[in-house]
């Protein structure tokens, strides 16, 4: 195979279910997570947080805290400068408030002490004088012109004049003549929806260990989805050079987008700088809920027209998103994704972002898409019911396909939506009759996927084994997948390859582990790095054989003469070439760096069977199946795991998860007892069907799979619940009290 080739090939190892390299360490407790690193003389860092949803900070007196024995450093907002870059400035103000506390849990001061007890006492001794201000936590209330102003002057130029001060961003997408489209419809449904903010719910809380020497060199160990991002942000916030800060990513106990920014790391570094000692900060669960980013809360209006035959004639949506107290543009993604599954002549989406007194939003799997698609898919389902049409037939009839002008602009290339819909239609799940009291929901889902900046080194060891060094924390099994791709390309067994995650000083920059990018982009770079090493090995063999380099080809883990004219030489294996590498020119390594594109969009379809207890409002999921296009499933176990994990998180979002605020703007359920994520006993086994429509943008056809799976469950579950109780649900989560209220309201 040519070294620059893309396309179909017969795989020997790709697609096998090899043992994961991190499994034993994780199940035996040997894996080192964020809180597991220690250093001699290490101090305990703790953060003081605002008890108010919105308050001006008039004065902070730390003198009493500083006098407590064992307290080595105290920091407040006064210790941090504000970077010129707006995004960095927002992060800096979020990690330590300056003039105002913007939400319940906003950090206002921090201490480092020789013991947890001394740190706790110091927090109590810090005196903060607040002027409590009016607050707003609801997205619709915050959009009103007379709403309390969270931050002044933050509106982008995209916001038309006359909007409320909390409106910071506006976007519009679409094409075609909406009026004409709706005029062609036999039935039009227009509804409004709300979705609650939900947390990513990772099990491992944020944790880090920071050191900073007297000469300004710093080291940081932390759990993160991107050590290079941590370096860039912390260096920017603290005003130090990137080369002086080395960041090492620990093993990670879940992130789902929530660890693509920083919360405690700049604070730990500042405490380390002031104290001259290593400082460890580990968040409590209460802090994780109050002060790290949940996803956006939303309010969405959708209007769709359909013919009696099921053809959608026009679709429109207005989306109002709030990502808390700081500006963000997540609504861009929702407004683009809302109608992506459909081939429409007339479509328009309008998005707004609004500030509220809630924590700063962090990304959460396919950020912005689940909410928008939930609203659209709910209206599509209502139209199917009203027109007595099969929900999968309608989606097949309207499905976007190759050549469709997408609702957000570009024309689709090869996409797998139709294949997933047809797979769902043919699946035994869809064809199993429902029993009395049971109902079935259907939804499509979509995510963009992307590639991004990636750098990989691949070393051929002298014993014929291979080391791959990449720069993305392994959040979903990437080390196994990367090793598989290196093994496939080089033609060596999987267990001869070990993949490690580099610190920021050891490898060029890599974007964070997000956007479902790692198996696609790091895989692509690994394949290219392997081809670079192969080229070098063929060059060495050409010299040994005394023939041109072009006359040597790589096949099945060995160099061969490329044809009869190249001469007769016995093949030389990678192991043989590696063993004599010192004699033939020195160590052999491959390298590749790229800003990868061509990730290819991803579609999925979910089926959900459930029943609702009409006396209690409790929903029980009975059967659930996920259909998703993976391009090529490098390691099917992990692909299925991503599909199942996304489905479970989406089911939690649909049924139980929400940030609940009191009248005082304080978060009432900052813990897993009151913020109810699904556990294994709540759910049936999530079935999966992987479809493989090769992505033309990747040498092996790989598509990202990490995010799409969380998109369809919101509507799949809501559509099933609505059918079960014969009442259309318009708000998430559909917790038992909310479902019961809807049932009682319908009964009159």
């Amino acid at each position: 195979m040519a070294l620059d080739s893309h396309g179909k090939r017969e795989f020997k190892q790709i697609g096998t279910r090899v043992a994961r390299p991190d499994g034993i360490d994780k199940v035996t407790g040997r894996a080192l997570y964020g809180a597991d690193m220690s250093a001699p003389g290490m101090l305990v860092g703790r953060i003081l947080r605002s008890p108010h949803a919105h308050a001006r900070i008039l004065r902070i007196d730390t003198s009493e805290a500083e006098a407590i024995p064992g307290v080595k450093a105290v920091v407040t907002g006064a210790d941090f400068s504000i970077p010129d870059d707006a995004a960095l400035a927002d992060i800096s103000v979020n990690v330590m408030a300056r003039t105002k506390a913007l939400y319940d849990g906003h950090a206002v001061a921090a201490v480092a002490a020789t013991s947890a007890q001394a740190a706790k006492a110091a927090l109590k001794a810090i005196k903060v004088e607040y002027e409590v201000l009016p607050h707003v936590t609801d997205v619709d209330a915050a959009m009103a012109p007379d709403a309390p102003v969270v931050q002044k002057g933050r509106s982008l130029e995209s916001v038309p004049a006359g909007m409320g001060a909390n409106v910071t961003h506006h976007c519009e997408f679409g094409h075609g003549d909406l009026e004409a489209g709706f005029a062609r419809a036999d039935k039009i449904v227009e509804r409004s929806f709300k979705t609650a903010a939900t947390h990513q719910g990772y099990i491992e809380p944020h944790a880090c260990l920071a050191t900073m020497n007297g000469d300004g060199r710093a080291d940081l160990w932390c759990c993160t989805q991107g050590q290079y991002m941590v370096r860039t942000v912390c260096a920017g916030v603290l005003g130090i050079e990137a080369s002086q800060l080395r960041v090492t990513a620990s093993e990670i106990g879940g992130g789902f987008g929530g660890k693509t920014t920083v919360f405690i790391e700049p604070v730990a570094l500042m405490l380390a700088k002031k104290s001259g000692k290593p400082v460890k900060i580990v968040m409590t669960r209460d802090e994780v809920f109050k002060a790290t980013g949940p996803t956006v809360s939303t309010s969405i209006d959708v209007k769709i027209g359909m013919t009696k035959a099921g053809r959608i004639t026009a679709g429109a949506a207005t989306l109002r998103y709030s990502g808390g107290a700081f500006p963000n543009t997540t609504v861009d993604m929702g407004a683009q994704a809302a109608f992506a599954a459909y081939d429409l002549d007339a479509v328009r989406t309008v998005g707004w972002n609004i500030l509220t007194n809630r924590p700063k939003e962090s990304a959460y799997r396919a950020p912005g898409a689940p909410q928008a698609i939930y609203a659209v898919e709910s209206v599509v389902d209502e139209l199917c019911l009203a027109l007595n049409l099969d929900p999968l037939d309608v989606r097949i009839l309207n499905a976007a396909r190759k050549g469709t002008k997408s609702s957000y602009g570009p024309t689709f290339d090869d996409i797998g939506l139709l294949a997933t819909l047809e797979a769902a239609k043919a699946h035994p799940h869809y064809n199993t009759p429902l029993k009395p009291g049971q109902s079935r929901g259907v939804s499509c889902g979509f995510w963009f996927n992307f590639g991004g900046n990636t750098c990989v080194s691949l070393n051929i060891n002298t014993d014929g084994t291979v080391g791959v060094t990449e720069g993305n924390p392994d959040i979903g099994g990437s080390r196994a997948s990367i090793s598989l791709m290196a093994a496939e390309e080089l033609g060596v067994p999987y267990d001869k390859v070990r993949t490690i995650i580099a610190d920021t000083a050891s490898l060029g920059y890599n974007d964070v582990t997000d956007g479902s990018r790692v198996t696609f982009a790091v895989g692509l770079a690994t394949i290219k790095a392997a081809r670079d090493a192969i080229k070098k090995m063929c060059g060495r063999v050409a010299k040994i054989w005394g023939i041109d380099e072009d006359a040597v080809e790589w096949r099945d883990g060995a160099a061969h003469p490329a044809g009869p004219n190249a001469g007769k030489f016995p093949p030389m294996t990678l192991e043989e070439i590696a063993a004599i590498s010192f004699e033939t020119g020195g160590p052999i390594a491959g390298h590749y760096e790229v800003n990868a594109d061509g990730a290819g969009v991803s579609f999925g379809v979910h089926l959900c069977d459930l029943e609702v207890d009409k006396e209690t409002g409790q929903t029980t999921i009975l059967r659930y199946t996920v259909f998703q296009d993976a391009g090529k499933a490098v390691h099917p176990d992990y692909v299925e795991g991503q599909m199942q994990g996304g489905a479970v998180q989406g089911i939690g979002w649909a049924l139980n998860e929400e940030y609940i605020y009191g009248a005082d703007g304080r978060l009432l359920n900052a813990g897993f007892l009151d913020y109810r994520i699904p556990v294994a006993s709540d759910l049936p086994k999530i079935d999966t069907q992987i479809l493989e429509i090769p992505n033309p943008g990747h040498p092996y056809g790989v598509r990202g799979v990490g995010e799409t799976g969380i998109v369809p469950p919101l509507a799949a579950v809501s559509n099933a619940v609505s059918r079960a109780i014969d009442v259309r649900m318009h708000e998430l989560p559909m917790s038992p009290p909310r479902v019961l209220k809807a049932i009682k309201a319908a009964r009159g």
Partner: protein, 81 residues
């Protein structure tokens, strides 16, 4: 000349035009010419945009070639989780 499709809210800076034409052969040239011709677009371009070229989405890909008949769509900067 290349035809460039803009998302809706950017059209307030292009006299309401959904599609504009610029003389450009690469990703970077498209953005430079847009910012020159329509200064109101500059803040958004400086914050970051993605660009779909013949259906493939790019971020920060200055030298990506654009043919005269390419489909070019300026999109918000892609982010993920």
């Amino acid at each position: 000349m290349v035809k460039v499709l803009l998302w809706g809210s950017l059209r307030t800076h292009t006299d309401g035009q959904a599609e504009v034409e610029v003389e450009a052969r690469t990703f970077k040239e498209v953005l430079d010419r847009l910012a020159e011709a329509y200064p109101g677009l500059r803040p958004q371009i400086e914050r970051g945009v993605s660009m779909a070229i013949d259906g493939r989405i790019y971020r920060e890909a200055w030298f990506t070639e654009i043919k005269p008949d390419s489909e070019v769509v300026v999109m918000p900067y892609m982010t993920g989780g």
